[in-house]
């Protein structure tokens, strides 16, 4: 378990260093996805299975896809630029780091250490009870945050399209 944690931590650290030092936005985003998946594995090893699943689904899935859409919208969508972004060697670094993580997950499955699942069940129950018990005001505040976020994103995106049509 310890060595798995340290390998995942090293992958996360290296990927994050590449994120802040890269010049191509798409490559940096690929590295950031790898860093988030490594963080999800660390969450799993720390016993937070629910948080690990959410990290992959919402962070690695939804938020990163949003970033990639915006990067694609920003530049002129020329074929040449796509070709320079998607060169094969751009995939080498993230692929190696992701393969390391895949090996770790394969080892976890092969080792068959399922003692954590029983603990996880009671933990999920505890999270749900706490979320709708003492933390109910936080849930309400989160909903009050998400609605202005939705309206703000709609407003900012809508005016852009109208101006784009004008000129």
């Amino acid at each position: 378990m310890e060595i798995l944690f340290y390998i995942a931590a090293a992958v996360s650290f290296l990927a994050t260093v590449r994120v802040i030092t890269h010049v191509h936005p798409v490559h940096a985003l690929l590295y950031l996805v790898v860093a988030l998946i490594a963080l999800a594995l660390i969450f799993y090893l720390l016993g937070a299975q629910f948080a690990a699943a959410l990290e992959i689904i919402i962070y690695g899935g939804a938020i990163m896809v949003l970033f990639i859409f915006v990067v694609m919208l920003l530049g002129p969508l020329a074929v040449e630029q796509e070709r320079t972004w998607m060169t094969p060697h751009a995939w080498v670094g993230p692929s190696i780091l992701a393969l390391v993580l895949l090996g770790e997950v394969g080892y976890l499955i092969a080792a068959g250490d399922h003692t954590g699942s029983v603990i996880a069940e009671t933990r999920q129950k505890g999270i749900s009870i706490a979320l709708y018990g003492p933390y109910i005001i936080g849930v309400e505040l989160a909903s009050m945050l998400l609605l202005p976020g939705l309206i703000g994103a709609y407003h900012l995106g809508r005016r852009l399209s109208r101006e784009g049509r004008g000129c």
């Binding site: 940096a28 860093a35 963080l39 937070a48 976020g149």
Partner: protein, 99 residues
Amino acid sequence: MLSTPALVLAIMLFALGLIGLLSRRNILYMLLSLEIMLNAAALAFIAGGARWGQVDGEIMFLFILTLAAAEVSVALGIVLQLSHRFRTLDADAFCELRG
């Protein structure tokens, strides 16, 4: 226990995000650095929750996730607007609002 190394990793990731935020002038990279820092904070919460065996860390992680989703949607809308108006992503170019 893995909590102490996890906290050290959280500090390192937060420092990396801060370095990226301070050194890069591209507004998209500044947003990415903010995401890294939010993730480091979430890792610190999860490590604390794992250390004490409480569920509060994971609940704080849920709130951080909500915050990040709302922040990213609005910030990316602003990035699109800025790139549409100024034709650049340089954060130093957006200096019309003088303090």
